[in-house]
């Protein structure tokens, strides 16, 4: 196994990836459909003062000049319709001041979080942004009297131009990075908070953002100023229920704590579904001021990746809680169907594509663990040097072996075919106006199977390869005629069996053959509708393997696959290769073959020149191909001719033998090991994560992955004035096999500054947490003090916690402390709580909740509720 690190170093590259610095070697420029005229128009429509227009134009110029970072999705940028921004700026919706007028969706968000209505109203100020337009805005009267300003940014500019002018863009200037520049040019909406001198706002102010339109760029701009001696807490929660993959969120958040002010900023993004990319956030703490920062995020699987569930492969975004998905139970070493507890939308994130030697590939975020076959050469050979270990993608390298399912054991259910509803009678009228009933000739007798059997499955598999169907509507718009056809020529290997089967259904006279003998069809509306009703739609690009085929009993599944291969497959050595014009269909076949225990390659795409229609002219086609190997179980289902061409297996089938490893010792029959052949830096993608009950893992694209859950991002505080103070408090929870990061960035740029980073982490089972942080002290920042506290709570003896502090200290007279405490849930604590009547699990979660109490205390109620719920969810199955 290679010891080389993969090209995935998300933590090291954090600054680059998340926009603090933009590499200068990037090349292309995107036009974006944005020009100076549009910027002027935006400003004009908003009726902004001229200095803001100048500011926007400056941002626009910087945007044009700055190179595009390499990692950016230029297609996405090009697809932004800047005209839409005008649309959303139209005051189509009035801001509502009362609870009744708040959109139902936002109320639902509160419902989802389980907040009683009375308490919701109690929350000090609630501002909600709906498609850039603030629709609900209210402030407690006493706050208003105190002069606290909490407005959306547009209104803020109108009503408080002096304050805005003074601070806008001072923390993150337009030239900071390309996306900050874009935001400066096009910003709309966001929050504006100003807390006057000496005012202490006790209740947290909060905003909910919603993004729910396609091609919708959100360029919100948040500016929070705590004037001298003021105190304020701001909570940002984002919801993006149907935020589509081709939209962009590029926000700028500037926090300013003026001398001796105290500012606390909380984001818990994924707990309420957030969009997280291209956001520039920074805080500045002036003399004697304090900035506290809490920030949370989740890692996930890319949109469109297919999760293997009980009803066949399902795109991850369509997996509903309650669906049972395939999962690996490590202790029993078997594949299980486990229910999904929750699906999380984790917004746009950087994903990486992992390709494996068995042809499977999946797109994941860097923190997603895969089950790796770990080799420890220091162990005695007798005890075995290999073990299974969940390892996050960022720590995997090309050459590592990971576990995947070779066959998913399922008894299967016999599919009962849906029968189409047919209108058997029509009303006819003669020329004198008398009406009479006409029997539809679509009702000619046809004996279609009621439930699946091997023959029916084979026939439908073959239809998927070579068949077509059409339904023609009559005058009344109702289906009138239908036909089902096969291009199975005379003498084809599948012809005899097909004809025999069709005879049983419709009788020989109903088969009409084309003159050339290459094609024949059955004219039956009922047949055509029957296919449609059972998920088989005609058309080369529309054909898909219906979901029920994945859940058939093994023999029927194999028959279905054999039928498809009898149509489109050809023998190649010991396997079968299949070509198709539809990539989707082939990936379905890939999944079906996997479920049947075969080895499926990746779907390869090629451009070929063919003369399919025998017109004498070559035409260019895009064709996809897929190679299936280890097809022994399938052989007996294939037509004799194809079977005779597939060479029998040389040896009885064995699973991957790794050098020096008997993989069979580690893995059950139904699991194999595959080598990672490449890890690519892929584009930003919409990502999701699943919480699977019990095992916490699931099968995506034929590879086993673990859910990633909570990880922390690294908020940064710049301590610019003498005596400024920064504090970051974070919590991370790693359960079995996970590796969670928490951390912070503190920049000391003035004397007597102090910072405290408190990282609380909980590890359960084989979970592992890490603290990674940067403390930088610039020359001249004498007497800077920094304390890093890492408290780890380990729930099991196998749990683990590490700290990786980075200190860049360019000043000698400083005090930098790093303190790490590790505590275990003692038997004594547990016994004490249990002796008072608490069940073991209750006692555990109570102790864990107590541990993170300092974090929870800093949150407003609904987040605290949500966090406690999350901990409870994480704690389930912790014991017993």
């Amino acid at each position: 196994m290679s010891a080389a690190k993969p090209n995935v170093q998300i933590n090291e590259d954090y600054e680059k990836l998340y926009g603090f610095h933009v590499p200068e070697h990037a090349v292309f420029k995107a036009e974006l459909g944005l020009d100076e005229g549009k910027v002027r128009q935006i400003s004009g429509m908003k009726g902004e003062p001229s200095w803001m227009l100048d500011f926007r134009l400056r941002g626009f110029r910087h945007y044009r000049q700055k190179p595009m970072p390499q990692w950016a999705n230029t297609e996405l940028l090009n697809s932004i319709k800047f005209d839409d921004i005008y649309y959303y700026l139209k005051p189509t919706e009035k801001k509502s001041e009362s609870w009744e007028d708040v959109p139902a969706e936002i109320k639902e968000t509160f419902d989802r979080l389980g907040i009683p209505e009375a308490e919701r109203k109690f929350l000090a100020g609630v501002s909600a942004q709906y498609e850039s337009e603030s629709v609900y805005h209210s402030m407690r009267e006493d706050l208003q009297k105190q002069g606290v300003i909490f407005l959306d940014m547009d209104t803020g500019l109108k009503e408080q131009p002096e304050i805005v002018k003074r601070y806008f863009g001072t923390v993150i200037p337009p030239a900071d990075n390309k996306f900050a520049a874009l935001n400066t040019a096009t910003w709309s909406g966001g929050s504006f908070i100003y807390v006057p001198k000496g005012i202490k706002v006790e209740m947290p102010l909060q905003a909910y953002f919603r993004i729910n339109a396609k091609n919708m760029g959100q360029f919100e701009r948040t500016l929070i100023i705590a004037d001298e001696g003021a105190e304020v807490t701001y909570i940002e929660g984002c919801t993006a229920p149907s935020y589509s993959s081709d939209s962009l969120h590029s926000a700028v958040v500037e926090l300013i704590a003026l001398p001796h002010a105290k500012l606390r900023y909380v984001t818990i993004q994924n707990w309420s579904k957030n969009v997280y990319n291209l956001v520039t956030k920074r805080a500045i703490a002036h003399e004697g001021a304090t900035v506290e920062w809490l920030d949370g995020n989740l890692g996930c699987v890319g949109e469109g990746e297919r999760v293997y569930s009980e009803s066949g492969p399902t795109p991850i975004e369509a997996v509903q809680p309650g669906t049972r998905v395939w999962s690996f139970d490590e202790s029993a070493r078997q594949w299980l169907l486990c229910p999904v507890v929750a699906r999380k939308d984790s917004g746009e994130q950087q994903v990486y594509e992992v390709r494996c030697s068995n042809g499977r590939a999946v797109r994941l975020t860097a923190n997603h663990p895969l089950l790796k076959i770990h080799r420890d050469p220091s162990r005695p050979k007798k005890l075995g040097r290999y073990s299974l270990r969940w390892t996050p993608l960022e720590e995997l390298s090309v050459g590592d072996w990971i576990v995947y399912p070779t066959a998913l054991p399922t008894e299967g259910v016999v599919h009962r075919f849906r029968q189409p509803v047919l209108n058997g009678h029509f009303t006819g009228k003669n020329q004198y106006g008398a009406s009479y009933t006409v029997n539809s000739h679509a009702r000619l007798p046809i004996a279609l199977p009621r439930e699946a059997d091997e023959d029916a499955c084979w026939m439908l598999g073959l239809w998927l390869a070579d068949g077509d169907a059409a339904v023609i509507d009559g005058n009344a718009g109702r289906p009138r005629f239908g036909r089902v056809g096969w291009s199975v020529p005379r003498g084809d290997r599948a012809r005899r069996r097909l004809v025999r089967l069709l005879n049983q259904c419709v009788g020989k006279p109903r088969l009409s053959e084309r003159k050339d003998g290459h094609y024949f069809r059955v004219n039956s509306l009922e047949f055509a509708l029957w296919l449609k009703a059972n998920g088989l739609s005609s058309g080369a690009r529309r054909k898909r393997v219906p979901g029920w085929a994945f859940t058939l009993p093994p023999r029927m599944r194999l028959s279905f696959l054999a039928g498809y291969l009898d149509g489109d497959g050809h023998a190649q050595n010991r396997g079968v290769t299949v070509k198709s014009a539809s990539r989707e269909l082939l990936s379905d076949i890939q999944a079906l073959a996997t479920v049947c225990g075969m080895h499926a390659s990746a779907v390869h795409t090629a451009q070929v020149k063919l003369d399919i229609n025998q017109t004498g002219q070559l035409k260019s086609y895009v064709t996809h191909s897929l190679a299936l190997s280890r097809v022994q179980t399938l052989r007996s289902f294939l037509s004799p001719r194809l079977r005779s061409r597939v060479k029998p297996a040389r040896h009885p089938q064995h699973y991957h033998s790794l050098t020096g490893l008997r993989a069979t010792d580690l893995l059950p029959e139904t699991a194999g090991a595959t080598r990672i052949t490449a890890i690519h830096h892929a584009r930003m993608a919409r990502t999701y994560d699943l919480q699977v009950d019990g095992t916490c893992s699931f099968v995506v694209n034929g590879l086993l992955v673990h859910n990633s859950r909570l990880t922390m991002k690294y908020p940064g505080v710049y301590l610019m004035g003498r005596g400024a103070r920064g504090e970051v408090l974070s919590v991370a929870f790693a359960s079995d096999g996970q590796h969670q990061d928490a951390g912070a960035k503190m920049i000391h740029a003035a004397p007597d500054t102090s910072s405290v980073i408190t990282s609380k982490s909980i590890s359960k089972g084989t979970g592992r947490t890490s603290y990674r942080g940067l403390v930088k002290v610039y020359p001249g920042a004498v007497n800077a003090k920094s304390t890093v506290r890492c408290d780890a709570l380990l729930l099991n003896p196998e749990s683990r916690s590490d700290t990786y502090p980075t200190m860049e200290i360019d000043e000698k007279r400083v005090q930098i402390g790093h303190e790490a405490t590790v505590s275990k849930i003692g038997d004594e604590q547990l016994f004490y709580a249990m002796s008072r009547g608490l069940k073991e699990q209750e006692a555990m979660s109570m102790i864990v909740n107590g541990f993170i109490e300092p974090f929870v205390k800093a949150l407003p109620l609904e987040y605290a509720v949500e966090l406690n719920r999350l901990v409870q969810l994480e704690m389930e199955g912790a014991v017993g």
Binding site: F831, S835, R836, G850
Partner: protein
């Protein structure tokens, strides 16, 4: 036994109990019987196995019963988990209560009460119950918002134990050296708490080193425990005898003699 109770069977009956911790035998055939309505004092020198007995009664997983039986209301409770015992009405006031940082006493008590009752406790009722007991024990209300035993003084810890006992109102209360480390005022409060709990339905086992608690709490029986078994049982006068003679006077000759209770 010194006193006949209405119930003909004892509330707690320990018969020939042998207990090992990590292979080392600590209790070596202990017999003890506590009837409802009685308060027993268990006295003995350090390392005689008093705390082992208390932990074992509560079901600490570390203590292994190698022989003998523990019957509580005629039921063998040896296999029950601590929470199941608590639900049946057994309570242990710890000698060294454990801190649970971040968990407020209010939350802890409410969860405990919910656990013991096996159902939810109305907030109003809970508040009232707690308030009454706080007042009786002379504990300020703000106490409820502190974290369980986190940074508590010795006296505060013991008071919390008594408060929990009062709120949970168990049928069998075992107090493990609740008097140790207390000043005289705290001792009186603790004693008052114990006395308030005395009732014909309840059995109380007070484990202590010293006689001084027994000045405030009148025991129905006193047992002297040495080297893993009870060597002497008697009335409250035994405690005074112990005070004057010291434990040495009770030390057994080389071969242990069975002393009937």
């Amino acid at each position: 036994m010194t006193k006949e109770s209405e119930m003909d069977r004892p509330l707690l009956a320990v018969e020939g109990l042998h207990i090992s911790v990590e292979g080392k035998e600590i209790l070596k055939g202990l017999d003890l019987s506590v009837n409802a309505g009685e308060l027993h004092a268990l006295m003995g020198p350090n390392g005689s196995g008093k705390s082992t007995l208390s932990f074992c009664l509560m079901g600490h997983p570390k203590y292994e019963i190698t022989a003998g039986k523990i019957r509580y209301r005629q039921e063998d409770i040896a296999t029950l988990s601590p929470d199941e015992r608590a639900r049946r009405g057994i309570f242990l006031a710890f000698q060294y209560p454990t801190a649970i940082p971040g968990v407020t006493i209010a939350n802890f008590l409410r969860a405990a009460l919910r656990g013991v009752r096996g159902g939810d406790v109305p907030v109003k009722e809970f508040r009232q119950t707690v308030k009454t007991h706080l007042k009786a024990l002379g504990i300020p209300d703000a106490f409820m918002n502190r974290y369980v035993n986190d940074g508590f003084s010795g006296g505060e810890k013991k008071r919390l134990e008594i408060l929990q006992m009062a709120v949970l109102s168990p049928l069998l209360a075992v107090l493990d050296e609740t008097d140790s480390g207390l000043d005289i005022d705290a001792l009186k409060t603790v004693a008052a708490g114990i006395n308030a709990l005395r009732s014909p339905q309840r059995g109380i086992l007070v484990i202590t080193h010293y006689q001084r608690l027994l000045n405030y709490v009148k025991p129905d029986a006193v047992h002297v425990m040495m080297d893993g078994r009870i060597v002497r049982s008697g009335g409250s006068e035994l405690a005074l005898e112990l005070e004057s003679k010291g434990y040495e006077g009770f030390r057994l000759p080389t071969a242990p003699i069975e002393v009937g209770a």
